[in-house]
Amino acid sequence: MNDAHIAKAFDRDLEGVQAQVMKMGGLVEEAIRDSAKALKSRDVELAEQVRQGDRRIDELEDLINTQCAQVLALRQPAAGDLRTVLTVMKIAGNLERIGDYAKNLAKRTEVLSHMQPIEGASSAIKRMSKEVEKMLSDALDAYVRRDAALAEDVRHRDLEVDQMYNALFREFLTFMMEDPRNITACMHLHFIAKNIERMGDHVTSVADQVIYLATGQFPDESRPKDNQSIYRVDSVGEAEE
């Protein structure tokens, strides 16, 4: 099945659009990395670069959608080719959202740079973003190699990100109760943590697409999740003690 199409231009179209997605993936990984780095080192200039860079990511998504529409209209792809086009469009959408979250992170970094730092928070957030960045990098590798097993692994690793977020949630709650002057900074940091948790969900969706591309089946919803514990009343009670 790795044979080339009889119509060589079809191959060029499909390769072209997949190359754009990989380029977009590279920019998004960089945006995650730089936004977390800017937060930790309170680097307003780097944060501004991330905000500016998001425009390029958005443009790539538009380009990919246009090219996919053209392939669908002109080539009527079937089977694996059809799944390639469908997954490319969806993955581009996921990447665009991740880019937006990184941009939001950079925006909050600029606000936070004028405030008293919260001890340990930016390191924990950096660890969390590092994990998401690694997951994205693996998901894109899995895409290139059509590796469903690696994609499945990425889906399962989202649990760790959820758990990191839940831990941070409790930590910020504690800081805010200890000293109300921390509230503004902690609220911003909480949104940042939540945004990174959402990035993880979009990476998971990319991994889902890889599994569909490789196998023709969407994965079932059996991956482990940890999105319940922070909604329990006793978890707030514990923090109060």
Partner: protein
């Protein structure tokens, strides 16, 4: 989506097997053209046969109404049953079989007769009409079913060969349905037609499916995808893959099927 609607419309009968073929072999002299083909063709369903030229799809189609009998060097082995009856059994009259299993060919081939007589020919020789009034009724009904009545009703005495290509093909379909067949075999029915006439014939196929089992051989993958609920892919005389059309076109199981439908060298 098309498939879901279809199943609602035609209910559980869709699962009835019309043709059951088992271990079918076809030889042209020493050439083994069809190898071990076993397949169940469903009633009230459009089944598409696809595959590259020379893969055996037309040969297999022609063995379903014993059209291969007309080729002296051709030999058919194996078991082909229509509603449980072995069609190659000695007591089966091939002419009666072909009244039940109608056929439409690639090139429209109306008889050099009037439009009326083209359609009336089959019912006449099979004695399906008692008198002129009944025959008129069959002709009108058949032309209506073939979606050509409105275009020809005022000139039924005109020659069938004087119609446009698309009209001729629909006339041939009217002729085929006039004997009330149970199965309609179509061998590339649209390859000589323009896109508008093709769309009309495809629409017609979808309507015919409510009463008949339709089997269509086509070189157009898009046509197979548009009109059929089941698709069979033939390659070098083998039936490589047979399944729901939606599955074949989104997630085929065999790499040869995938190579063929995605336009790679198979």
């Amino acid at each position: 989506m098309m498939k879901d609607n279809a199943d609602e419309r035609i209910g559980v009968d869709a699962m009835d097997i019309k043709f059951a073929a088992k271990d079918v072999q076809v030889y042209y002299a020493d050439n083994h053209a069809i190898k071990d083909v076993s397949v169940d063709i469903l009633d009230k369903t459009v089944t598409a046969f696809i595959g590259p030229s020379g893969c055996g799809k037309s040969t297999f189609l022609r063995s379903l109404n014993r059209m291969n009998d007309t080729i002296p060097i051709c030999r058919v082995e194996g078991d082909i049953r229509l509603d449980g009856q072995d069609i190659n059994a000695p007591e089966v009259d091939p002419v009666q079989l072909r009244a039940k299993v109608g056929m439409v060919f690639q090139k429209p081939n109306p008889f050099p007769k009037s439009i009326y007589d083209n359609v009336a020919y089959g019912p006449r020789i099979h004695g399906l009409a008692r008198g002129k009034a009944e025959l008129d009724e069959i002709v009108e009904k058949s032309l209506r079913r073939a979606a050509i009545w409105d275009e020809v009703k005022d000139r039924l005495d005109a020659a069938g060969t004087g119609l446009s290509g698309g009209q001729q093909q629909r006339l041939c379909i009217a002729r085929a349905v006039a004997t009330e067949p149970e199965v309609l075999l179509m061998d590339e029915p649209c390859s000589a037609l323009d896109p508008i006439a093709t769309a009309q014939v495809e629409e017609l196929i979808d309507e015919l499916r409510q009463s008949y089992s339709v089997i269509i051989v086509t070189h157009s993958m898009q046509q197979a995808a548009r009109v059929s609920q089941k698709t069979a892919f033939f390659h070098l005389g083998n039936l490589v893959e047979y399944g729901d059309t939606t599955d074949i076109f989104t997630n085929p199981r065999d790499t040869r099927t995938e190579s063929y439908i995605t336009g790679r060298i198979g």
